[in-house]
């Protein structure tokens, strides 16, 4: 048996509010195998037994030495609400590390594009990428993790009202500030990802998108998390699993349903 994923009881080291409804939680588990790639996610499980399914949450940072994982999540429903109430020393069931993650083999000009709660998983990516990072972060209103991102590249911020950074969206900023790009890495709402895909194809840049889908298991067992990925079949695509074949896919192969 090759054990790479594991369901464990992890301990909460810290759980703090970043901005309204957004929490930064640090969990620790000695049991996990810390063979991790940025873009991978974990499953968090609710203690309320009426909620059976895992909540997939991307890994924001990993401290392999201390065996700590940082997660940043937004409260949108019952599960995330429960997680927001976890306190230091509480336990949480967690499965890690899930999904494929981003490839780190590009040492040129890296363009990192995040939107909302799609930004946290890009932090560990920015940290580990070799080349030169330009980081574009879009938020509706409140911004977070900006100082952390600034450690790993030039950061450009877009918000809807321009209270933080510039008014507009990340694509506006990319059009303005990107001179050269070797690879784009992106995570965020579907609308943004579509725009990034278009930007990449217009500018002929290699791009990778991290997708979301509703999940039943998070590790490939239920085929619940299908996305259409271009492939040489009769129909020109194949249904792939976000949880194991993704969440990161080549932008040019992602077929967004219209």
């Amino acid at each position: 048996m090759c054990v790479s994923k594991k369901k464990v009881i992890a301990k909460i080291i810290k759980n703090e509010i970043l901005v309204d409804n957004v929490y930064k939680m640090v969990v620790k588990s000695e049991e996990l195998i810390y063979d991790f790639k940025p873009g991978q996610f974990v499953n968090l499980y609710s203690k309320d037994k009426s909620m059976l399914l895992p909540r997939p949450i991307s890994v924001c940072e990993v401290d392999e030495e201390n065996k700590e994982i940082t997660l940043v999540f937004m409260v949108v429903g019952k599960g995330t609400k429960e997680f927001s109430k976890l306190r230091e020393n509480d336990d949480v069931y967690l499965m890690a590390f899930l999904g494929n993650g981003f490839d780190l083999d590009c040492e040129g000009e890296n363009i990192i594009v995040g939107g909302g709660v799609g930004t946290p998983p890009l932090l560990e990516l920015a940290k580990r990428l070799k080349g030169n990072n330009k980081i574009f972060l879009g938020f509706r209103k409140d911004v977070y993790l900006i100082d952390e991102f600034k450690k790993y590249g030039e950061v450009y911020i877009a918000t809807e009202d321009g209270e933080h950074g510039e008014k507009g969206n990340v694509i506006d900023l990319m059009n303005k500030y990107v001179k050269k790009a070797d690879r784009i890495y992106s995570c965020g709402p579907k609308g943004m990802l579509k725009a990034v895909k278009e930007y990449a194809s217009n500018n002929n840049v290699d791009a990778y998108l991290s997708l979301e889908e509703r999940m039943g298991c998070g590790f490939g067992a239920c085929v619940g998390c299908a996305v259409k990925i271009k492939e040489d079949t009769d129909k020109g695509y194949k249904n792939k699993k976000v949880c194991v074949d993704g969440p990161v896919f080549k932008a040019c192969e992602v077929m967004f349903d219209e």
């Binding site: 048996m1 059976l52 590790f219």
Partner: protein, 302 residues
């Protein structure tokens, strides 16, 4: 030593714990890292059709209170790819292999069964109860005459023992059970999912792209237990019971209701070692009550 084994239509099972089709990856590969597959009574493969099927669009999964709804829609690569790509893996697992089959027409079911007949699998499970594809046989599963005739037809093309999987979405499950028994089924598995729906009131849309899906998980266990009990009093062929089994006690409940084997479904998705936990729980119960053979409690409920 307590005896967990039994025999169905000539196939020996080392223990009653199987996987419920569609909840254990396609053939179980995803679980190798969590459990020892050879400890299972059987691996039940995800629904296989003649040609590759795409399945439904996403979202395919909705969580409900104590359960979940899925509308995967039998996504699979077709029987030939299964034989080419997956049989080798399965043959190595040292456990029974049961293949769940689906089709749009009787002829498609027959052709899948025929192609599997030459392989090294142990049994075929006829899925006439998938609520997620119009063509997935649900009509066969809700009409006694059709259920009988498709069972008969499939029996003509295969020598493998045939399990027929029943739908709970019927007025009288004993009628369907009798029909498939008289059609020649060697075993019944039950229950498939109840048809359910969930609405996202904020988006004002069904959560599932397909609108409706199959409800599974502990929420449905009381319905499954009732039906297994009813059917076990009606037919003579053995039953593989499933529907919401989360632990060994749930499995014992099915066995007391009349099931010979049990299958773990939704629990696999939440807890990848669920099958082994169920098996351990069964052993613990037997130990606690000095039961040396499961047959002494099987169907013990009048």
């Amino acid at each position: 030593m307590s005896n967990l084994g039994f025999n169905i239509a000539g196939v020996e099972f080392k223990n009653p714990v199987m996987t419920a089709s569609g909840t254990f990856g396609s053939v179980g590969k995803e679980f190798e890292q969590f459990i020892d597959l050879s400890s299972l009574g059987a691996i039940v493969v995800k629904g296989i059709s003649l040609d590759p099927w795409d399945g439904n669009n996403s979202p395919r999964i909705a969580e409900t209170y104590g359960g979940m709804i899925n509308s995967v829609g039998l996504q699979n690569d077709g029987v030939d790819n299964f034989i080419k790509n997956d049989m080798k893996f399965l043959q190595k697992q040292n456990t029974n292999i049961i293949v769940n089959i689906a089709g749009k027409t009787v002829d498609e079911y027959k052709e899948v069964a025929r192609r599997l007949d030459g392989t090294d699998i142990d049994m075929i499970e006829l899925n006439i109860s998938c609520p997620n594809v119009k063509e997935g046989g649900v009509a066969f599963g809700t009409n006694a005459l059709m259920a009988e005739s498709i069972t008969k037809e499939v029996k003509t093309v295969t020598n493998k023992p045939l399990i027929v999987k029943l739908s709970p979405n019927v007025t009288d499950i004993t009628e369907i059970a009798r029909a498939v028994e008289s059609g020649g089924a060697d075993c019944i598995s039950m229950i498939n999912t109840l048809i359910g729906m969930k609405i996202d009131i904020h988006r004002r849309k069904p959560v599932l792209f397909n609108k409706i899906g199959g409800l599974s998980g502990p929420a449905i266990k009381p319905v499954a237990i009732r039906m297994v009990h009813q059917v076990s009093k009606t037919v003579k062929i053995p039953i593989i019971g499933m529907g919401g089994i989360m632990n060994g006690e749930d499995a014992i409940e099915f066995i007391m209701a009349g099931a010979t084997g049990v299958a773990v479904g939704t629990a696999n998705l939440i807890n990848p070692t669920a099958t082994m936990d169920v098996l351990d729980g069964i052993k613990k119960y037997m130990n606690d009550y000095n039961i040396t053979d499961l047959s002494s409690i099987r169907g013990i409920i009048d």
